[in-house]
Symmetry: none
Subunit: 217 residues, 4 copies
Amino acid sequence: MPSTTLSVPDDRQRDAERSQQAILLAARDEFAEHGLGGARVDRIAQRTGLNKRLIYYYFDNKDRLFQAVLEQAYSDIRAAEHALHLEDLTAPEALRRLVEFTWNYYLEHPEFLTLLNSANLHKARHLMDSNRAQQLNSPLIDMLADILERGRKDGNLRGGIDPVQLYISIAGMAYFYLSNNHTLGAIFNQNLLSPKAKQARLSHMSDIILGYALAES
Amino acid sequence: MPSTTLSVPDDRQRDAERSQQAILLAARDEFAEHGLGGARVDRIAQRTGLNKRLIYYYFDNKDRLFQAVLEQAYSDIRAAEHALHLEDLTAPEALRRLVEFTWNYYLEHPEFLTLLNSANLHKARHLMDSNRAQQLNSPLIDMLADILERGRKDGNLRGGIDPVQLYISIAGMAYFYLSNNHTLGAIFNQNLLSPKAKQARLSHMSDIILGYALAES
Amino acid sequence: MPSTTLSVPDDRQRDAERSQQAILLAARDEFAEHGLGGARVDRIAQRTGLNKRLIYYYFDNKDRLFQAVLEQAYSDIRAAEHALHLEDLTAPEALRRLVEFTWNYYLEHPEFLTLLNSANLHKARHLMDSNRAQQLNSPLIDMLADILERGRKDGNLRGGIDPVQLYISIAGMAYFYLSNNHTLGAIFNQNLLSPKAKQARLSHMSDIILGYALAES
Amino acid sequence: MPSTTLSVPDDRQRDAERSQQAILLAARDEFAEHGLGGARVDRIAQRTGLNKRLIYYYFDNKDRLFQAVLEQAYSDIRAAEHALHLEDLTAPEALRRLVEFTWNYYLEHPEFLTLLNSANLHKARHLMDSNRAQQLNSPLIDMLADILERGRKDGNLRGGIDPVQLYISIAGMAYFYLSNNHTLGAIFNQNLLSPKAKQARLSHMSDIILGYALAES
DNA sequence: TATGAATGAGAATTCATTCAT
DNA sequence: TATGAATGAATTCTCATTCAT
């Protein structure tokens, strides 16, 4: 009567897992498109093809579903950050790589940006209620601190750089450009997402960050 | 004895104007707090003390009200930008002043940040439908281009800097810090809005921007 | 100081009269197009170019306005009926003339049909509340009775025809065709209002009525 | 023991069907009493005892509900027409039977008349949007054409009668009397719906129609 | 006479959520 | 686990009507 249930999930469990993932994905897209207030549980159900009732079965209510989506989003980006392996590069190369990574991740995960906007509109309440809080902690800050320290020692980065400030600046330069691309595009009357424009933005960001961090020779 | 009648609007006009302004202010706060989807017309009416019907009388529907709020927000920041008079300063000083202005404006007008987030969530549709579009155009870009050109000529700023890229970077560094301060605060477990933290952020931003723009000596 | 006011209306009175007529006309069209429940006081005001408040000033409320419109509509058709002078014709010609008149009046006053529909939807309550009730009484019934009697005496119409029944039949054959032309057109998939179709309808109606009323020879 | 399951729908299905029918019936009465513009969704819900939300669940909005009501009304009268079996009668008898049927159907289904009025007020838009359009097509026209042809061949009906014109005349004579009975009653100051009056009306209609259609001997 | 501003009661529609199976 | 039916509480928007001048 025991117990292989944990290691060998039966079909029902696999279906359950699959349903939850489908809901999570559909909810992520819905919340990203419409925000928390504009998202519709009905639409999420439609997106999955599953019954609306199931959403409540697995996630209790809309707010908890949003919380789960946020947790997943953070979990995803943390996994990507872990895969970076900046420690194998010189400090300046690592810094450049970090700028590239940030830019590309935001570019490839536009939903992440709007989800964060929504989370902040609600004063990060959903994150603070989360008990998977540990996954919020970015390893990047420690990695960045290491890089900065390593660069300082090697003499190819200047000293005295605050890793948190630098991280926020890198993220901010990418984030603002992409998150606000619609209003910026309207104001400047130009397409900020053409391949050329995207390339130019990354160059500019790298120039600024490395211009700031490189040791003066 | 006659004739100040032109400069002194009668009560009716004044009331209409006043009512519209009151609605606009209340709506701004409501939209800023809750986003477009989360805002409630009822609450806006309550905030003004006026009848809900009046909101529809003057603004037709929630979307047009949001549009009017955005127009006002842009109109306000453009007015502040006009008052800057950067042309009286040296190029490096003007640049530093611009960074400060951006930072302080966002700090003092947190509603502006969330309004822009909402506008972008809706793909800037409300701005594009606006026929007060000219007020979107920031004079800052031209001012910044002038500064950069002046600095290059005077030999105290490096050449080849794109004013649009630089503007977005300045704005982005301030915007991201403030707009996302709740999630960032949760992640870093620190208060980003203490006086000290705010001072540190402004210093960092100025350092980065000026470090990038100053001519190498 | 005295008194020509009754016979020589001053400008203000003329304006007042003109405003009331404008409202009445606009209201007639609005009620005819949308029915009593679907009519909008705002739209009536817009149609006149006058202020909405004026409608209430002159007509108290929407129901009384509808009542006034109905009274006017009956007054108009009674005036047209009075102008018929059927007494100058032989009985069969008078009958044919009456069929023609009915058909043409309905054709030229489509609003009359929908107004009557609305009046009946409300169980003629507005007419019964009217104190201009006398204008409801159609002279046609008496005229028709005279014709039928005259024809019987002259031997060119059969006897024993009830004028009320005949009147309702004439009216009904015209009314139903025109009032229900949209649904009939949809069912029969043909245009009932082409010149040819209208001509055919009038012929058919005359045939039926005269076929019924003419004395067998 | 198994297997009547196919013929006996389970409770859920039965309830859904029953709810929809209840809504349809209540809506029919509400629309018939007040017209489309005057009908209230709230009242329809109250009439059914069901939740108002359910109306939208099944019928989307008020206009589509009205459309469904119209479709049902047409479906009902078509079913009654199908049950007539006029082909077993001689042509004159069939014609008389048709007049009687029309009169009695309108008399027993007064809601049908006001529903049609409303449909026409809206220019039959709801019917034209219906994709159950085939149920609009009355078999009566074909039946009537057959009768007329049969009568002509048998020599007991005159030739050259247009079935559409005749159908509209029969319907119109009944419709107008009943649909406008309130205004007619007010004008003629008599009760048009007393048993005697109803009998007289049917006689008159039959006289007119048969007088018109019978072959002259 | 005429008008723009303002309102309360409602009316259609929506939405998150629960029921029953 | 999964689902269609059902609901109460909003929520946006409307409408006839009145206020104040």
